[in-house]
Amino acid sequence: MTVSAVLTPDPPDAAGELRAFLAGRTGDGAVVSFVGLARDASVQGPVGALYLDHYPGFTERSLESIAAEAGGRFPVSDIRVMHRCGEVAPGETIVFVAVAAPHRRAAFEAADYLMDRLKTEAAFWKREDGPGGSRWIEPTEGDRADRARWSD
């Protein structure tokens, strides 16, 4: 199994990543990918940009450990996670996740699990910048409820 999780200040090329992830894959019957995009509005109002602050080294390890735990929990073959840091404009990719598995259910579930954990436990501090100023945000109740679905 290859589990890879990387942090990048540049927008990931989601289509290119997926193509590379699919290439030469003959033993798996399923690949599930997810692309998270920055939106131009939140419940608080318009969003001109997002900023993801991170703690160099520590944040990378939080991504790696979430990806590794997904690999240990589901019968999957490979996992790829790419996550942005820094300034993110609306429409840009914040996160790319791909999971390959012999069978689809494990791939769907592992991707779902990865995203629920990344949304609550990845070591980021997120700021939304809008016309009314900037606000630092925390996981929503919905994010926490999604995460709680996977509690043992």
Binding site: D53, R61, E121, A122, F124, W125, K126
Partner: protein
């Protein structure tokens, strides 16, 4: 050697991201937090909240952890997630 301090997220935006405090014998992470609050006007409520975690050289530690000269302490507000 000093202890280097890093404030992440909103704490860094409000009180400055990087700080340094002088190492003294027997210094714990909890002591360091108290000294930082004394140094940074108005930071008490924000830096002492129960959701704040402290990391020494990239590992989260309890308040009672001892420090050595030259170490880095990061003050981590609740993670927003990605």
């Amino acid at each position: 050697m000093d202890i280097r301090i890093l404030l992440l997220g909103e704490l860094g935006a409000r009180f400055g991201r990087e700080h340094a405090l002088e190492f003294t014998e027997g210094l714990t992470v909890g002591d360091l937090r108290r000294r930082l609050i004394e140094r940074l006007d108005g930071s008490g409520p924000a830096l002492s909240g129960p959701a704040i975690r402290l990391a020494v050289d990239q590992t989260i530690v309890p308040e009672t952890a001892s420090l050595r000269p030259g170490q880095e302490v990061a003050v981590l507000p609740i993670f927003s997630g990605g």
